[in-house]
Every structure is written in structure tokens, then in C-alpha cells.
């Protein structure tokens, strides 16, 4: 078995108003930062996934994201996956 370090990001879909991002954007403008637009705040998650190979790891992560980590009604996600260094301890 191999281990994979996975990083998952989940955001609200573009069509969904993000009040947190909106509030932060206003704060940035108030602080004098110009040219900052479309601030969106999402979630970041890390997972260490055990799988026979990279394809199996992708299958597992996609299933986890689709069923649990994001709600497709209002959110979207992306992830990165990389084989973990050998010294990773579980």
C-alpha cells in the first residue's frame, strides 16, 4: 500500500452569495487596498490517504469529496494528490 497526501479545497459555487468574502472585501477596500475583487472564503482540508496506487487513491478521494466533504447544491471543490514521502508515519 502507498500513502498519498491530499489537499482539498471547498468553496461556495459562483452563483451563491458569499457574505464572508463580501465582508472581507469591504474591509480590504476600507483599509485602502485597491484592486482587490471577488474575495471568496472557502474551506481547506488535509487528508492522508492509503491506497494501492494513484488511480485507487483518486477514486477514494473523489468519492469522499462527492459524498461528504462538499454539498453539490451550493459548493464546488478541487483537490491535489501526491504520493507521501516514505517517512510518513501513520
Amino acid at each position: 500500500m502507498k500513502f498519498y497526501e491530499v489537499e482539498v479545497k471547498v468553496w461556495l459555487k459562483k452563483s451563491v452569495f458569499d457574505p464572508q468574502g463580501n465582508a472581507v472585501e469591504h474591509a480590504l477596500t476600507g483599509l485602502g487596498y485597491e484592486g482587490v475583487d471577488k474575495v471568496r472564503i472557502g474551506k481547506y482540508m488535509q487528508l492522508l490517504v492509503e491506497a494501492t496506487d494513484e488511480a485507487a487513491a483518486h477514486d477514494k478521494v473523489k468519492s469522499i469529496c462527492d459524498k461528504v466533504l462538499h454539498n453539490p447544491v451550493m459548493e464546488t471543490y478541487s483537490y491535489t494528490l501526491a504520493e507521501a514521502a516514505a517517512e510518513v508515519s501513520v
Binding site: 461556495l12 457574505p19 454539498n71
Partner: protein
């Protein structure tokens, strides 16, 4: 009529819900822990308010994987009345028993207080004791009550009279001011306001009573006698 109030770790309106049912209907109410799998003995199931599993990840996202939700799904398929209040509404959307989802309030504040609702459909098993278009007063208490669904879903809800209650005015940024909706067979209802907190005079409103009265009347009319 036999009622169940589901108790998740983090539920905190479970006793209020059971108390409201007992006050209004005089019926028997069981508190059912979330590990219970079989709910077939009940005529009505209430998913109460609170913060199930700390609302970690998303409101209701973990609760929907509880064993009890399998029982809720089966009961819903068999026509049992299922009422989701506040966090219970969030759990029902996460479980796919109701469409759409609940997001953080658009003003980012926890909103807590009496609000006015309009009864949009008074023909549901949960609303038959109201008049269509009636304005009622029921409290809300939530941080994540902004109902969201895609336009086609909203049109579908509107076309089939599945919007039960709307807010009179802006409360949390919900699309089309939706406060509560029913499923396509009308035996599952979710709403963010708390009817169980408006059942006696000293609660400043008794307008919530008729949700439970409607459910009891529906059950009596249906004449269901459980084999168990």
C-alpha cells in the same frame, strides 16, 4: 398517535419539541437516540433544532450518516410525517429528503427573535389548521438559515405548492424568502423557524400550535393503525 423526537449529539431543542407535542396533542412522545435504526412504530418523527455533531463540516452534514437517518428515510418513503425544525431542516436537506440547502445568514449574524411568516400552502399535513395567506408569528434562532436552491428547483417548488412558509421581510437572505418547504409527497416538511417555541401564551405567540394540530388531524383522518 405516537411521536418520536430524534436526539443527535448536539441537539438542544429536543425537549422543547417533545414538550410542545405533549402540550398541544396530549400524545405519547419518545426521545429516540441517533443510533436507533428502526422507527417503524412511529406515526410522526421530529428532527429538532440544535447543533448536531457540532455542525462540523456543514450543518447536518455528519448527522445525515447517523443510523437513525436510515430509519427516517424508510419512514418517509412509507408516508410517515417527518418534521425538521431548524437543524432538523438542515439535516433533511443534507440527507436529500428535501431539496436545496441552508447557508450562513447573508448578514453574518446569528438571528434570534420573533418573525412573521406567511402561510403559503395551507393544504399540507403540517399546515391544514392555518389559512392560506395568514400571517403568523414564530421565533427563529439560527446562524445558517439562508435557504438556497437553483432556479429550476425553486420553480418546481413554487409550481407544486411545496413552499409552506415564507418570511415577511428579510430575515437571513433566503431565496424567495423561503422559511419552510415540503417534499414532493408532502409528508416531509422542513422549516427554520421554531413552532415548538410558540405554543403557550407566555411564549408571546401560540401560532406554532397549529403545526402539531395539523399533523394530528392528518393522522386521525388517515386512520392509520400501526400493526406494531
Amino acid at each position: 398517535m405516537k411521536w418520536a423526537v430524534v436526539v443527535f449529539p448536539g441537539s438542544n431543542c429536543d425537549e422543547d419539541a417533545a414538550g410542545a407535542v405533549r402540550r398541544v396533542t396530549g400524545d405519547e412522545v419518545d426521545m429516540v437516540w441517533h443510533t436507533t435504526r428502526d422507527l417503524s412504530e412511529y406515526d410522526a418523527i421530529i428532527l429538532p433544532g440544535g447543533f448536531s455533531y457540532g455542525d462540523y463540516l456543514r450543518s447536518g452534514a455528519i448527522a445525515r450518516f447517523s443510523p437513525v437517518m436510515e430509519g427516517v428515510k424508510e419512514a418517509a418513503e412509507q408516508g410517515t410525517l417527518v418534521l425538521g425544525i431548524c437543524n432538523g431542516f438542515q439535516v433533511l436537506t443534507e440527507a436529500g429528503l428535501l431539496p436545496g440547502g441552508l447557508l450562513g445568514n447573508h448578514h453574518l449574524q446569528f438571528t434570534c427573535g420573533m418573525v412573521e411568516l406567511r402561510v403559503e400552502n395551507a393544504n399540507l399535513p403540517f399546515t391544514s389548521a392555518y389559512q392560506e395567506g395568514e400571517i403568523i408569528r414564530v421565533p427563529v434562532a439560527h446562524g445558517e438559515g439562508r435557504y438556497y436552491a437553483d432556479e429550476p428547483v425553486l420553480d418546481e417548488l413554487a409550481m407544486h405548492n411545496r413552499i409552506a412558509f415564507t418570511y415577511q421581510g428579510e430575515v437571513n437572505g433566503s431565496v424567495r424568502n423561503i422559511a419552510g418547504i415540503a417534499n414532493d409527497t408532502a409528508n416531509v416538511l422542513g422549516l427554520m423557524p421554531h413552532p415548538e417555541r410558540a405554543v403557550v401564551e407566555w411564549m408571546d405567540s401560540v401560532d406554532g400550535r397549529r403545526v402539531f394540530e395539523s399533523m394530528a388531524a392528518y393522522h386521525a383522518k388517515r386512520g392509520v393503525v400501526h400493526a406494531g
